[in-house]
């Protein structure tokens, strides 16, 4: 039995594929930024908070890291509805991805914070810097720089995992693909194309993160240290 590949049936849909890719990038960008903020704050809370804060953050991180994103997406989507609040699938997807990647960010940033030597903090204290100033200038910034490669990988994984939100009909690349394949009956070809688009997106994202590092971490640029 032979199968004839027919990509031409997909040709009229190129604007849809493109639009799907844009939506996926948007969704990932929002979740990356929000998740980074949530995760960094959690990491600081875990390192320097009251025992209650530490326990809450630890529980959050463990629960998220030990359950599937798919189930988290369902719980958040239906859970918000149970509370009587109507949210779009897209918003629920954004929240779920943020909550998810926030937990991973917390663990990564925490490792970074731990790598900053006490003597650095002591030196900053002796210069009269306040606690928030010390956190920002002496602890968090160098810590982020140190764990930047891990964060990059995590956020690329997040972009790929955002495909899961198609399961609650959030609008993104995989949902678009599902629609196209049911309209063209060319499932195999559709998913090959979409797979390639994701591959391109992950390269683009890595490139963007490297470019950002070049701009943000001047020491690396000047000394030529690779990330």
């Amino acid at each position: 039995m032979t199968y004839t590949f027919d990509f031409s049936a997909l040709l009229p849909y190129w604007p849809d594929f493109l639009w799907g890719a844009v939506l996926t990038l948007q969704l990932s960008a929002v979740a990356t930024v929000a998740g980074f903020i949530v995760g960094t704050l959690c990491a600081i809370g875990r390192a320097d908070g009251s025992p209650v804060v530490k326990a809450i953050v630890a529980a959050y991180v463990e629960v998220i890291r030990n359950t599937p994103l798919l189930v988290q997406v369902f719980i958040i989507y239906f859970g918000i509805a149970t509370l009587g609040i109507r949210v779009s699938a897209n918003l629920a997807a954004m929240i779920a991805l943020t909550v998810n990647v926030g937990a991973y960010t917390c663990e990564i940033v925490r490792a970074g914070l731990q790598s900053i030597h006490r003597s650095q903090v002591e030196a900053a204290e002796c210069l009269g810097l306040s606690k928030p100033q010390i956190y920002w200038h002496v602890i968090v910034r160098p810590a982020i720089e140190r764990v930047y490669p891990s964060l990059t990988s995590q956020y690329v994984l997040l972009m790929l995992a955002s495909s899961i939100t198609s399961q609650i009909s959030a609008e993104e690349l995989t949902a678009v693909a599902n629609r196209i394949q049911s309209g063209t009956f060319r499932a195999f070809e559709t998913y090959i194309v979409v797979g390639l688009i994701y591959l391109v997106l992950s390269f683009v994202m890595r490139g963007a993160f490297t470019a950002f590092a070049q701009a943000a971490f001047t020491r690396r640029r000047k000394l030529g240290t690779t990330l």
């Binding site: 003597s119 210069l127 810097l129 306040s130 200038h137 020491r219």
Partner: protein, 242 residues
């Protein structure tokens, strides 16, 4: 003239370990006090207590009008008056030399960027490293890093400078350039307390030598006291040190 630093009967314990047992001394404005003694004699701890890096269990410490032992002490105000330089430099590796120096003036004193840059230029000239402003710490030698650390403290225009074994991690050759900077500072009238192993430097520059032994001030006097120790312990220490 009232003393800048005044320690009265200071006690410090780490658990059951008694590190300082009734330490008292004073340093006048413009004075240079060299604290010497074996490792474990409590000299570094005494220095750290002056800057409130350690809390004391008994006694009083007064530094530039701040009551350091007081629980209500405003540490940030104290630290604007006191600069400290550590053995391990503790420069911020992610910042350039200039940024290291500008950080505290801009953050703590809210000085404008351009003014802070001028300040950085001045203090770098003072330690003889004007051309290194745009370098990163890891591009500098140990001696240069330590001079930057001194400049970083000076940029806060402190009334008192503390030096905690600042040359112990350096080769003899690099030690010289750091001591030279400290000597210039002393000559410029800076009040300084230095914990050091450099006997020759203490004898030459210090207005007052404090020999610590077993957590106490064992013997104190002018630099010349090193030539004629009164106690057998100091005689022994000087003998082994030279």
């Amino acid at each position: 003239m009232s003393p800048v630093v005044k320690l009265r009967n200071v006690h410090k314990y780490f658990g059951a370990l008694k590190v300082l047992e009734g330490v008292s001394f004073e340093v006048e404005r413009g004075g240079v006090a060299a604290v010497i003694g074996q490792s474990g004699s409590g000299k570094s701890t005494a220095l750290r207590c002056i800057n409130a890096l350690e809390t004391i269990q008994d006694g009083t410490i007064e530094v530039c009008g701040h009551a350091v032992g007081d629980p209500k002490l405003d540490r940030r105000a104290l630290r604007q008056d006191v600069g400290i330089v550590f053995q391990s430099y503790n420069l911020f590796p992610h910042l350039t030399v200039e940024q290291n120096i500008m950080l505290a003036p801009t953050c703590v004193k809210s000085i404008g960027k351009s003014e802070a840059r001028d300040l950085a230029r001045d203090v770098l000239a003072q330690v003889g490293l004007s051309e290194k402003a745009q370098q990163y710490p890891e591009q500098l030698s140990g001696g240069q890093q330590q001079r930057v650390a001194i400049a970083r403290s000076l940029a806060m225009q402190p009334k008192l400078m503390l030096f905690d074994e600042v040359t112990s991690a350096l080769d003899p050759q690099l030690t010289g350039e750091v001591l030279k900077v400290m000597e210039d500072l002393a000559r410029g009238g800076m009040t300084m307390i230095l914990v050091t192993h450099e006997m020759a430097f203490a004898r030459k520059v210090a207005s007052q030598v404090i020999y610590m032994h077993k957590g106490q001030v064992w013997e104190t006097g002018p630099g010349s006291m090193l030539d004629a120790p009164k106690t057998p312990e100091l005689a022994n220490f000087v003998g082994s040190g030279l």
